[in-house]
């Protein structure tokens, strides 16, 4: 094929002033999934692997090194309080789902209620967690147990914090009247929602490993 017969948009080069004003052509959508949703799923894969590296460390410290007692005597983990905290975080998954279902039906009040409830539940979880840290009696320097306990729960706490920031943005915009029924008009609720579900599920795994197993 002759290269000369190829049409040259913008008369070649295209670094001209008039090109400044008209935008790009709309991209072809070659998959059913929208960009934002796929993006957050891929990011979650990354996050799972980050947790994975700390879980790997956990099993090295607990199984390979195999210390005499785990947790080291005389410390104990408050399983009941953490279990209650788990219930709080898991219920926040239902409230964020309620918010998403509400806006899908066009119910803005329901969405606001769901978002605010999720936000409060998430914050409560963080407060209970910090309170637990204060009363545990051991620190991150207490053997490898303290190190990996604070790392895993702290890493998760940091993710709850990031999730809360995303939820704050969604809530703020919800109260300013930004989201509506159309699928592409409430991605700002849906995408942080997916992230929040990930944070919840990850906590169940962290809780099961660190507190129960």
């Amino acid at each position: 094929m002759e290269s000369a017969s190829v049409p040259l948009p913008h008369g070649g080069g295209g670094h001209t002033a008039e090109a400044h004003h008209h935008g790009p052509p709309a991209a072809n959508q070659s998959s059913r999934i929208d960009r934002q949703t796929l993006g957050i799923f891929l990011f979650i894969i990354s996050e799972v692997m980050l947790f994975g590296s700390f879980f790997a460390s956990y099993f090295f410290l607990r199984v390979v090194v195999n210390p005499v007692s785990w947790p080291p005597y005389p410390f104990e983990l408050p399983v009941a309080i953490a279990g209650m905290n788990t219930a709080i975080l898991v219920s926040s998954s239902f409230t964020i789902h309620y918010a998403l279902e509400a806006i899908r039906k066009g119910n803005r009040q329901g969405m606001k209620l769901g978002l605010v409830l999720t936000w409060i539940l998430g914050l409560t979880f963080l407060f209970v967690q910090i309170n637990e840290y204060v009363h545990l009696g051991f620190s991150g320097r207490t053997e490898s147990f303290g190190t990996i306990f604070y790392s895993l729960t702290g890493l998760h706490g940091a993710h709850v914090f990031i999730g809360l920031i995303l939820l704050s943005a969604a809530t703020l915009r919800a109260f300013r009247g930004h989201f509506s029924k159309e699928p592409e008009k409430h991605l700002g609720v849906e995408v942080p929602g997916i992230y929040w579900h990930f944070v919840d599920i990850m906590w169940i795994i962290v809780f099961a490993t660190v507190y129960i197993l």
């Binding site: 994975g52 147990f145 109260f175």
Partner: protein
Amino acid sequence: MIATFTRPGWYRAVLCTVLAAAFGFGIVVLLRVISGLPAMQTEQTGYPQVVVPLITAPLGFLLGIGCFDYWIRWGIGMPTIPDDHSSHGAYSWKDYFKVNTDHKVIGIQYIVTSFFFFLVGGLMAMLIRAELAQPGTQIVSAATFNGLFSTHAVLMIFVFIIPMFAGIANYVLPLMIGAPDMAFPRLNALSYWMLPMAGILFLASFLAPGGAFDAGWTGYAPLSTGAPLGQSFFNIGVQFAGFSSIFTALNFLVTIITMRAPGMTFWRMPLLVWANLSTSLLVVAATPFISGAQFMVLFDRILHTNFFQFGAGGDVISYQHIFWFYSHPAVYIMILPGFGIISEVISIHSRKPIFGYRLMALALIGIIVLSYSVWAHHMFVAGMFSWLRVPMMFTTLLIAVPTGIKIFSWLGTLYFGKIHTKSTAMLFALAFIVTFTIGGISGVMLGMVPFDIHVSQTYFIVAHIHFVLFGGSVFTIFAGLYHWFPKMTGRMYDEKLGRIHFWGTLIGTWGTFVPMHWIGMEGMPRRVADYASQFGNWNLLISCFAFMLGAVQLIFVYNMIVSWRFGPKAEANPWRGNSIEWLVSSPPPVFNFDEIPRVVGGPYEYGIPGARHAIMGGEGAEVPATQPSVVGT
């Protein structure tokens, strides 16, 4: 006056960097004073008042230069500014120093920045070779030498090879699949701007008390957990480089999956796209492991936790497991995009369809799957579980199969092709096949447990890694840069200088790294500033070739800069390529296309009369009546 500091740009960036550094410093000092500790902590593995600003200052810079402006406006519920495309495309050289959302501008930013770090890292290699030219210590002290080789490796790996491939793909990939831009242009800009942050952190470690990080690029604990302050620069720099490559990889994946032009099925994608698809899958899933490993070292250093403290229940070997679980896949992150480049170049310049196109793509997938199962072959002598040795040896040798498929497919493509070497890119591609095969075979040797034990920590390792990373990755980078230089700049480079650069690089590479195999087998240890005098002659020879290798790179720099400014204008399709990036002007228009092209056939149907890959110009454009069908499309 105030507007100067509120607009996104360099003034605000400098201001925010200073403020963020002061904030980080202040918060540490404040917390320490409140807890009744001395305000400053200057133990070797401490310095929280320096380490925390190392994290906050780059974030401040990113905030100031304007990476987060849109998201912050969105997040606090302000009405977002309708995009006027004012931050898209480059209209003067100054636009390359701003946050830009155009994938082509970001591609150039990536390429130039990472090439700068290549030159800095190369200069360090010259210093290393100068010191090693003779037995004894002449140029630098042993401590400085340790810092030099560590920084050399880290610069080359994290801020040259990986981002250079990201840069080339950033420029070419959206054009190749017929997309107007990447899926997340603002995230793309953020990914780019994190790269210089990482590079500057690595280089700034030379200013730290105790010198640059000197535990090698692997930063093994407990060497790294007890090292001077410079090691923390490494720990934090890797986080920025890591986030940068994760976000870029995520961007590539979403772009490839959701933004292909109509008709561009997965089996019609050029192999460069396939290569970046598989590399990105590796980056997204593996890079968090090095983030994790470096966080753990940083915690051990600054917070005095016990991840790797033997006496307190820590596990030293676990560092190597977690580190190599990223860093072995990382070597494929550093070569797979290069495989893609070579496929493009070989096919175009031998005027033949790629031999075994589908198997080429599947071999990439095979490599990424296998690459997760071989990490412990770096640890045969580390004192890890002995039962893990033989399984890791088997999987390591198995990787040679998909890699071999690729090598033989390139040879099959060349076989009976109309090979012409009028482009330096093709010369580098042909040299790559030979050099990389040698490096690959020494990799198979290293996969054997007994041989690996024999040559562990010797120059054989140095020879192998440079044969695959310099003779492999860097050759593909040069091939890619020469190949797409006309597309990126709209100018032709000087072919004669290109040839001098090629032959100098080839002879320099072989002259430098081939003798290292022999002195390695004889037992010369790596990572030492001084060595036994029996290796003196060989090392002098190696150093001479290394200086030549370094010097010819200056020809490349001269060629690129002068050709970019004064070279003859390039036509749209100087190599008679089929893929979509050759169907637009050189350089491409700001928004790539007026209308999204339609893909009607495979990407490599060279030598087949009437075959076309894509048609420009939307629905109205004519379609060839009969589309020849070719295996692999």
